[in-house]
Amino acid sequence: MNSPPTGLWIVVLLGCCIGCAVPTGSGADGSGAAATASGTLQITGSSTIAPLISEIGKRFERRHPGVRVEVQMGGSSRGAADARRGLADIGMVSRALNEEEADLHAFAIAADGVCVIVHADNPVASLSDRQIAAIYRGEIDNWKQVGGSDHAITVVNKAEGRSTLEIFAEYFGLESSQIHADVIIGDNRQGIKTVAGDPNAIGYVSIGTAQWDRDHGAPIRLLPAGGVEARVQHVASGRYPISRTLNLVTRTQPSGIAKQLIDFAQSPEVHDLIEELSFVPLPR
């Protein structure tokens, strides 16, 4: 039996594999190639900004047919890392950039706050900053020690790499290694679901997300911080102490459809979307 040599088959198959791989290399490149408004924009990062950018992206897609905006979560650190490595056209970072990220370009699109949440059935209406810090350090572990019922406190913390954790820890003077958590969650929605499902839980999320979810029926209560109630209006007026800017970051000065999207996100035309999700539009 004369069979074609196996070597020939291997060469043919490898050739097919390489041939398939080459065209996909130029797939999702939004910021360089687009002279006409078409292409795909990859936006990854903070789970706080993701719903807002999804809505802005949809409105942008309606104005620029041929453009697709794809949004993924993963945390602010992922947004910065992906932007730097070119895996995303735009990164979402829900805090100010630190020194290691000084090489990136940041564009603020809205302001938000971080608030502590408990279940709506929890009788405790407010906690002082020192009490919250003590709860997270594990020094206070029962609600009756802060005026509530006799139940163990379920401490909900965010996973590392989330800017909400960094801002929370910085304000309350905690190192992330000092925090004693009972449950660690990834994005804002998982945090709200966890607290809403446990009457003895305490957690922290973005004010915008929490206010929106509470107004749409989630059984949670937002606690004040520093004596100021956790409301979007107080973030806007600057009275609320734990606030942060929501940023879009790019590695190089943006161009093409990435620049158009960023300009659009910073324009007054999307202020209604920002307010609908309970964030604070920034004055231009």
Partner: protein
């Protein structure tokens, strides 16, 4: 004459496709080893014996101890297998030997449906339904026990379907002969069928175990994800897979390398299980069925 030519071409295609599969698996393993080398070189055996995992601690450059996650993976897998193996074997025996034909058919379809549900759906169900129920025993409900229950439920269909195939492969003549000798139904199952199908039962259990080790989404949602060696069923755990899922998106340099090393560890565990399965099957070949 032309029949031989077709045979050669088909043989050649199959040979090269198999080679492509080998090359892919080999390159994944090689890539894992390459990316883990920095962490393995810098940290050495401390990577698996340390119990502190603080990748972002600036003062010390970060501590990378995988021990809590390794214990988490092993605990969840062991618990899941302990729950799913007896239940799977019992379900298969019920389906093959005790259920009326129409009940068996519907039961089998139900199990096949369970096998097809995506793991993230199991995780969501666990988060919203199972965890609050476990919370009534011991709040909060995000702990090792919930993880074991969810993963056990997920691997039950795998175990049951493979074991049932093994039971069905037992030669009918054995069963008929045993019945002719006057053995009762349970006697036949226990003394003839189960020993004969032993290889297949172990295959099913090991496949279930391999799936349990690799489970990610469901575990991230219900296990609590706290990096701590669990001291009891109601402590939260983080598995190796959940660790990779939560942190791979943004990890850099040594942190990223340590995560790849944990991926390599998972690969080694899976390979170990397959090799153990091979060995067991070789042992039971002497007895007849595989």
């Amino acid at each position: 004459m032309s029949r031989f030519r077709v045979d050669d071409w088909v043989g050649g295609i199959l040979r090269s496709l198999s080679l492509v599969a080998c090359v892919l698996v080999g390159s994944i393993a090689g890539f894992l080893v390459l990316e883990s080398l920095p962490a393995l070189r810098t940290l050495g055996p401390r990577l698996i014996t340390d119990s502190q995992w603080y990748p972002a601690a600036d003062a010390t450059g970060g501590s990378f101890g995988l021990l809590p996650m390794i214990v988490g993976t092993l605990a969840v897998t062991a618990g899941a297998v302990l729950l799913a193996a007896p239940a799977g074997v019992a379900s298969a025996v019920f389906c093959q030997f005790y259920a009326p034909r129409w009940v068996a058919a519907w039961y089998r379809k139900l199990i096949e449906l369970l096998a097809g549900i995506p793991s993230v759906v199991y995780g969501f169900w666990g988060l919203v339904v199972l965890a609050p129920q476990v919370a009534r025993l011991h709040p909060p409900g995000f702990n090792l026990l919930t993880g074991m229950l969810i993963v056990g439920l997920m691997i039950l269909p795998t175990v049951m379907l493979v074991v049932e195939a093994a039971l069905a492969a037992v030669p009918r003549s054995y069963i008929v002969g045993a019945a002719a000798l006057g053995l009762g139904r349970w006697s036949i199952v226990r003394n003839i069928v189960l020993p004969e199908a032993r290889g297949g039962i172990i295959t099913g259990v090991v496949l279930g175990m391999a799936r349990a080790v690799g489970e990610t989404m469901a575990v991230v949602m219900v296990c609590g994800n706290v990096v701590r060696v669990p001291r009891g069923l109601f402590d939260p755990v983080r598995t190796l897979t959940a660790n990779i899922a939560l942190e791979m998106g943004y990890a850099l340099s040594i942190h990223r390398s340590a995560l790849f090393a944990s991926g390599l560890l998972l690969l080694v565990m899976a390979a170990g299980m397959i090799l153990a399965l091979e060995w067991v099957q070789r042992q039971s070949v002497g007895q007849g069925a595989g």
